[in-house]
Each structure stands twice: as structure tokens, then as C-alpha cells.
Amino acid sequence: MSDSLNEMLRQTMARITSALADFLPGLLAFFVILLLTTVVAFTLRIIIRRALQRMAFDSRVDQWGLSAVNEWSPANSPTLLIAQAAFLSVLLVGLLLAVSALDTQLTSQLIVELFNYLPHVAAAIFILLAGSLISRFLARSVLIGAVNLQIQSAKLLSVGVKWLVITLAVAMALDHLRIGGAVVQISFAILFGGIVLALALAVGLGSKEMVRQSWERQSDRIDREPEEQLHHL
């Protein structure tokens, strides 16, 4: 009885030892790869940051009219944003390589799935960034245009346009990430319809006076507005 128990324990220990012996090199490789990529990521971050600082990248971004990027950047510095993005990208690739070194079927599948998913993530990030820039540009255009048309609810209009574009961008990004499915589409349709209705009401209520004056002017019922008597040209 005790012999057979000892034999079972011995076999179990042998299996565990064998499994550990199989797993340990992978684990070691995992940590070594992680360590190396961390060092590479840190070095790359320092190199990129110094190079961009030397060429006054932050000022150049402003000169190129991309000052909106500042708001998305840590410490309002696009240089730090790029350096941080490079650091995290290298770290992510290192992590994936390290996990693959464990050489299990699960991690291999995970990596394949992750690499298949990466283009969707990249596309979603691009859509969000583009949506953010476009929304800011359009919001500013609407704000300035509405103020110059003397529409009292100019800010409301501008904010409405901004969130309309952001909502559209988020819905598109989620669709790309395959998150939410039909729920996102339906929610987006409801939200979009709601925003359009709100905007229609805002424009209708905010500019009814302007529309009335415009019609009256069309039919020559009132004189030109006082400031139009001033000839700007």
C-alpha cells in the first residue's frame, strides 16, 4: 500500500519537475525579452524626445496649425506624446514576443487573435483622431460664422456640431472594434437623431428673429440695418 502511494507521489513529482523543467526556460525567456524590450523602449523614448526637442517640434506643430494636438498630449507637449506612444508600442510588441516565448497553444492563439485585431484598433484610433480634429475645426467654423451672422445661440450651435461629429466618430470606431454590434448602431441612430432635433430646435428658436428680418428685407418692408449704412469698402 505504502509502496504504491510512494510510487504515485514519485511519479507526480517527476511529472511536476518535468513540467517545470519544460516551463522554466520559457518563463526565463519571457522575463529576459520583457527586460530587453523595456530597456529598448526606454532608450527609444529618450532618443525620440531629445531629437524632437532639438528640432523644436512643439513649436512646429503650432506653426503647422495642429495646436489641437497639444490638448491630447501629456503636459501639452506633442513631443512627449510621440515619445510615449513609441515607448508603449515597443513595450506592447515586447510583451507579445515574451508571451509567445512561453510557447503554449493558448498564448499562440491569443497572439494570432491580437495581431488580427490590431488593424481594427489602428483604424479606430485613426478615426477617433480624425474625428476629434474635424469636430474642432467644424465647431470653430460654425462658431465664427454664427457670431458673424449675429446668431445669439452661436456657442450652442458650435457645441452641437462638435458633439455630432464626435458621436459619429465614436460610433464608427466602435463598429471597427466590433464592440456593441447592433446596440451601438441603434444607440447612435437615436443619439444622432436627438442631436439633430435639438439643433433644429436651437436654430429655429435662436434665429427666428433673423429669419423674419431676412424675409422682411426681401420684400422691402424695412430699411437696411443701421450698420449697413456704414460702407465698409
Binding site: W64, G65, R140, S141, L143, N148, Q150, Q229, L230, H232
Partner: protein, 426 residues
Amino acid sequence: MPDAITQPGNGESSALAAAVDVVIGVLTYNSADYAADVIRDAEHSLTACFPGRRGVIVHADGGSKDGTQEHAAAAAKDKDAFVQIAYTIYPAQKIYPEWIGVPGKANGVQAVFAAAQAREARACIIVDATVGRPAEGAIANLLRPVLEKEMDFVAPCYIRHKYDGAILNGIVYPFIRALYSRRVHQPIGGDYAVSGKLLRHLMSQVWPDGDSTSWDADAWAIVHSFSGGFRIAEAALGPRHVRPHDPSPETSSILAQALGSLFIEMNRSAGFWQRTRASQAVPGFGPHFDPPADPAPVDPAPMAQSFRLGYQNLLDIYRMILPPATLLELKRMSLQGADDMRFDDMLWARVIYDFALAWRTRSLDRAHLLGALTPLYLGWAASWVRSLRDAGPAEVEERIEALCSAYESQKGYLISRWRWPDRFNP
């Protein structure tokens, strides 16, 4: 009359290409209502005012669809002294309703200058028929200083009432005067005359893009005259028959086009204007005209209201352009009533300079930048109108002179910020 049109560079009849003293260039685009009158005025000026001189009228049209070319050709009595040429207008310029002046003017002027250069003209005048019909004798008054006084560039000086041309008096004239140190009252007036010498110089320069505005082309020509050291003059032309613009352009659109043209030239000629010193008057020619009768009073309240609305809504944008001290002044103004609001001349000059610098550094989109100036301009206009309410012609001149002095005194601020933009971070 399309068959009569001679494409530039395609060759013209030898009689027309013979050397002449004067070329009168008439630019049109869908100007059927004015083209014939302008051509008749031009012919009359040639025959009545310069009888001993050989002259030719060059009618440059951008492809009008309303029979402008036919009207003009029918109005010309002396067909040997009349030539029609075509110039390119981009489709975007044709469909933009608020374009002021002749679209594609740079191309039109270039075509006229090329024709004048081919004829070795001693003087060439540009008449923009889309803006309006020149006053009687205006063409001759513009040409005379070139032909008889050896001037190289003659700018028009139309008689206008005190509320007329607020952008011109409040921005264009003082700005150009401060930068280039020449007191040309209406530097981008649409019509102007140039000598053969200046014409050859201009033809050798890089021209504005074909899609530039009418004012871009005018500003380009006069700034090249300044920087080339040519002799500048202005000619009194009396009142101008301005052609009504349909649809009437928005103030923001007028302002954007006028300032855009100034800022483009400012950027291009930075090396020159930073070296110029105190302004000098330019010789004036032409008959004396009595000032026009007082216009109907203008209520500044709606303009002040526009300023307040703009300040409240666009403050975030102004923070990107203007320094804190200016913002503080604007805030104080926004709290005042229309009758109390006063836009200080120095402050206004600095605002324009700050916008010019933001245009240069692209602190924000240039169209947004120029659009954001409109409420501030209306605030200044409200203050301007209020200050001119009881002013006679002499007081109006004094006010304009005071404003110009403010622009000139603030030029140092502009130069220091231009040279070291990073030292200032609003």
C-alpha cells in the same frame, strides 16, 4: 463677338501691336451694364485729353456670359485702337458669390501688362469695371502724372463721405502707411496707372496666384512699387459710381479679403518694411473736389452689440491671438454701452498687428483668424462712427491722421513680435 477676342500670346494684328504711348486696360467679368460706358469713357479720355498721343484700349474679359464682350466691342468707335483679350478665371472664383472686384484679376492685369509691354507703352492704366464706372475725367487724371510728371504708380483718391470706406480708413490706409512709409490714401482702390518702367519691373516679378483676390493683385502691384523705389503719386478723381454688388457681401467676407491681401504682401515684403522709417506724403495731382454732403447718421448700437456677442463667444480664440493686456481692454469695452464705448487707436493698431502675426505664425486656421476679427472690427467701427458723429471734413482728416500715427507708433511692437514671436506666448 468672340471671334474678335485675341488670346494672349496667340499673336495680334501688326497694326494693333505697333508701339503706343498709352494702354488703357479695362477688366470685366459679367459687366455688360458698365462695359460699354467704361469703353466710351476710355475712348473719350484718349481722344479729348491726349490728342497727340497714340493709345489703345485693351479690353480683358474673363469669359463673361452676359454679352459684356459684345457690348464693349460695339461701344468702341475706333476699332484700330481697340483689342479684346481673354484671361483665365478659375471655376471656384466664378461660383463664389462674395468675390469683390474682378475675379482672377492678377491674370487679367498680367494679360493687359503683356499687351502694353508688347506695344512699348509709356503708360498703362487698369480700370476695374466690375467695381464701378470711373468718374468723368478719372482715366485722364490717373494717366496725366505718369505721362507729364514722370510718376511710376498713380493710385486713385476718390472723394468719399466720412462713413464711407471704414475698412480702408481704419485698416488698409494706416496699415500700409505704417509699414511702407508712404501716405497713399486708397492704396488698393481697384484702378491705377503705371509707367512703362514700372510695368517692365512688374512683369519680371513673380505674380500672385491666379486664384488670388482682386485686392491681392492691387496690393501686390503697389507694394512692388514701394519696394522697388518707384515714384508714387495719387490723383484726385472725385466721387465714384460704385456698382451695386448682388448679393451684397458680408462684412466678414470683405474684411477677410482685404486683410488677407495685406497680410500676404506683409509676409512677402518683410525684409523691406522692417527697414522703413517715418512716413512721407506722396505728390497729389488732379482737380480739387468739394467734400460730399454729410451722410445720414449711423447708429453704432448694433455694431457695439455685435462686438459684445463676438467677445463673449470667441474669447477662447482671442486668447490664442491677443496678449492679456489687450484682452483686458476688450473686456472693459464689452461692459460699456454703445454710446460710451471707445476703441483706443493704439489698442486697435496692436489688435491688427497681433492678427497679422497670428496669420504669419498660423496660430490657427487663417480663414478662422480673419473671420474672428469681424466682431472686433465692428466694435472699432462703432467707436469710429461715434467719434465722427459731429465731425466736419477737417476733423475727419484729423481723426484719420491720429489713427495713422497710432499705427506708426506701434510699428516697433510689430517688428519686435515679428522677429521674436516665441518671446510672447498669449
